[in-house]
Symmetry: C2
Subunit: 333 residues, 2 copies
Amino acid sequence: MKITIKDIARIAGVSTATVSKILNKKDQNISETTRNRVLEIIKKYGYVPNRVASSLVTKRTNTLGLIIPDIVNPFFPELARGAEDKANERGYNLILCNSDNNVQKEEIYVDMLKEKMVDGIIFTASSRRTDKFKKLTSFQVPVITVDREIEGLKTHGIITVNNVKGAYDAVKYLLNRGYKKILHLTGPMTSKPTRDRYEGYCRALIDEGFEIEDCLVCEGDYSSDWGYEGILRALKRDIKFDSVFCGNDLIAIGAIKALKVKGFDIPREVGVIGFDDIYMAKMIDPDLTTIKQPNYEMGYKAAELLIDMIEKKEIKINKYVLDTRLVIRKSTK
Amino acid sequence: MKITIKDIARIAGVSTATVSKILNKKDQNISETTRNRVLEIIKKYGYVPNRVASSLVTKRTNTLGLIIPDIVNPFFPELARGAEDKANERGYNLILCNSDNNVQKEEIYVDMLKEKMVDGIIFTASSRRTDKFKKLTSFQVPVITVDREIEGLKTHGIITVNNVKGAYDAVKYLLNRGYKKILHLTGPMTSKPTRDRYEGYCRALIDEGFEIEDCLVCEGDYSSDWGYEGILRALKRDIKFDSVFCGNDLIAIGAIKALKVKGFDIPREVGVIGFDDIYMAKMIDPDLTTIKQPNYEMGYKAAELLIDMIEKKEIKINKYVLDTRLVIRKSTK
DNA sequence: GTGAAAGCGCTAACAG
DNA sequence: CTGTTAGCGCTTTCAC
């Protein structure tokens, strides 16, 4: 039989109200003596309050939902860690949900989280979301979307990265280093970040007086396999390029692999630049020049904004666009 | 104002008991007609039951705790994913906790999870655990430890990997391929897997008629930095070796990097073998021969065993030792 | 087949 | 400074 607040109250010879007040630090009006006595008894008996009971009355669970496509994708662990750190710091826990970018799974998770009365949700939505999905907007608790803005989906806060500028910086850097024919291996164009990076690519080219050649832009997905495949395909089609701007680091890693297999010297013959700066970027050979995304900070900031909303602190900004940073390593000359 | 079971009952003209029974599929004794009527109303009003209320009475939250050192460490995302998949399959959610291998943080998390009344915990414990830490053993709910057996810590179930055999296989393979001087860059000897891998290393050497040379065994931690550092240090000390058995893939990746910097040809002059088979193992150059650990399966199995315990299914075995597998790639000849 | 009623363990007025 | 009391939203006996 588990020990309850009633037991503590009885043993201490006070009411449950008194114990509750002490537990919740609403004890300005409790005498030093009783407080100490109660605290002692709590300790002695190893009493642990039952939060599900208190949640039922306070309507707060101190739990957040984190919905991401897949924790195995190297992009997400840092984000999750950032969110968890902030949540923990503020006394919240995080429920991890892997949606596989699957709208149906997302909906199921949202329902589960709703039932469990989470105080808020951090959401990295699938790219295939349509506005038929009203569950979130009708959700009673605040929702922060991270990394991907969803058209037609109103959320309570947004954390993104300046993808246009990041891509712009990448391409401009390539151009400045003397590369002239930049192959762009993109992710799926259904996702906003992909389109933004493509936009940055175009703008940099134009600003520097180059033309945009459609054959240099190849759409795929955010995987190493696609990077590998994309290079082989470009080579087969006899497309001329002296550098590759990859939609993310995974693509870049695959691309480098293919390039090496085909005997190209990186960075002399072909330069490669990625996007993300995942952990592995500095471990591969040559280590990867890339655009660092502040993944950890995104998660951290998302949790912070979310908790501020939950706790009704004054919130002026509900959209943060974090900046990327060019990290120069050895895959570009 | 949120809609409750009372509202549904009132609208349907039945009691809350009836609605509850229908909700929980204990409706053998409910007439088809009322059931359909109630279900319809639930749908129409978008009623979502409040699980925290029901948890209070059923003493089940359908929530599990997952305590790992750090989700950013490439070893853990797969484990977490495996656990989450199984949990989800069985209607449970997972609370993610990053302990940083810090006993104090572990204790705090255990307390939080206890307060939130999780139904069970999956625990990858810090290596520095001492038996002063009784919180877990005195814990009311089942605990499964994964990957690391903790001496002096009784848990309800254990999932590990056959580290001795994995290491044995690795070293034997190296020997069979003609390598003779195997440097062993280990993790911290305070951890059981490290010691087990060391044991496998010794056994293989002995079985093949080699001697164990202490100077070939260097203790560090499970990071790429240590792999890099370890190679440089061995070289500086003028230790002769023709291959490296690394405590994990991260160490191997660092080692490969250092070896390449120093101009060694891998695998001809020096062969390298890792342990884990993380995602990046096949992406680096040369791609890494390694011992695959079934990370996903460990998480999956852990969740399965845990949930079986929670739901009191017949449990014969409460310890699973999963097998590793040699994955041959290009970092060995 | 269905419902009344007694809690689950805690908090929050409000009263004293 | 402390206690009384009425729930929070749900499940579960047990009676009808």
